[in-house]
Amino acid sequence: MRMTTRNVSLTTALRYKGQGPMLTFILHRIGGLGMAIFVSVHILSSFLGGTTGIYLNSVYESWVFQLFIFFFVMFHIINGLRITILDLWPSLLVHEREAIWLEWPVFLALYGFAVLVIVRTGLGS
């Protein structure tokens, strides 16, 4: 087993100007990790039931949590489709930046609609 070392410091890594593609990359990771935790806890709570399950369900059903999880879920879904299309048809990869520009308005429109529905439902109208 060989140990690898980082060839850049953490501060250099944080200053890396990956711009648009880097932002989608990091949001995709955070969202994926968040969904893995959320789905696992949700499956466990629905299995356990009882006071723990009811408590966890009340957390998921709060509109603040839904705004948070929906941001990452919607982003992961839309960004994932972009990655899938570009990776399965590699000739399109030259248009990666344009695809990311296109991705944001699609995401903002769908997430904006979700925010509207969640907040209206959450405020009980």
Binding site: T4, V39, S40, A114
Partner: protein, 142 residues
């Protein structure tokens, strides 16, 4: 850098890692199909009760009957058929595998020690099997 991060050309090709890379992309497309099926189903079955959109989406993201128990649907029968339990099971299995693969990819990128990476890999596989078993139990006994 004491270890090369790219494979020699002779080592590339259809490896297990390549198949998992492909699985991540194809499972994304499969989940799109399953979620759209759930969305269409909720719109058809919930139309008579004027189901609100939040509940429609909750069904689309996981078509299991516990997701509509607290809504205004008149009868739960059409929502708990073998068909929808199968769609839910398929979504559960595909999404869990996709997620476990994602955890391994993230671990490989950020965990430097090979031993810790192997621990996370093993833990991800155990978590995957556990979530599939528990999830299937919940879907089919609900």
């Amino acid at each position: 850098m004491d270890t090369p991060r790219t494979l020699r050309p002779s080592e590339r090709g259809l490896s297990f890692e390549m198949l998992l890379w492909l699985f991540t992309r194809l499972s994304a497309l499969v989940m799109y199909v399953l979620i759209l099926a759930g969305l269409v189903g909720a719109l058809i079955m919930g139309a008579r009760t004027q189901m609100n959109f939040a509940d429609v989406m909750r069904w689309a993201f996981m078509p299991t009957v516990t997701h509509v128990q607290s809504t205004n649907v008149l009868e739960l029968g059409p929502w708990s058929t073998v068909f929808w339990k199968s769609v839910g099971s398929a979504l559960l299995l595909v999404a869990s595998a996709h997620g476990a693969r994602g955890l391994v990819v993230i671990a490989d990128d950020y965990i430097v020690s090979g031993r810790a990476r192997r621990i996370v890999r093993t833990a991800s596989v155990i978590a995957l099997v556990a979530m599939c078993v528990i999830g299937l139990y919940v879907v089919w006994t609900a």
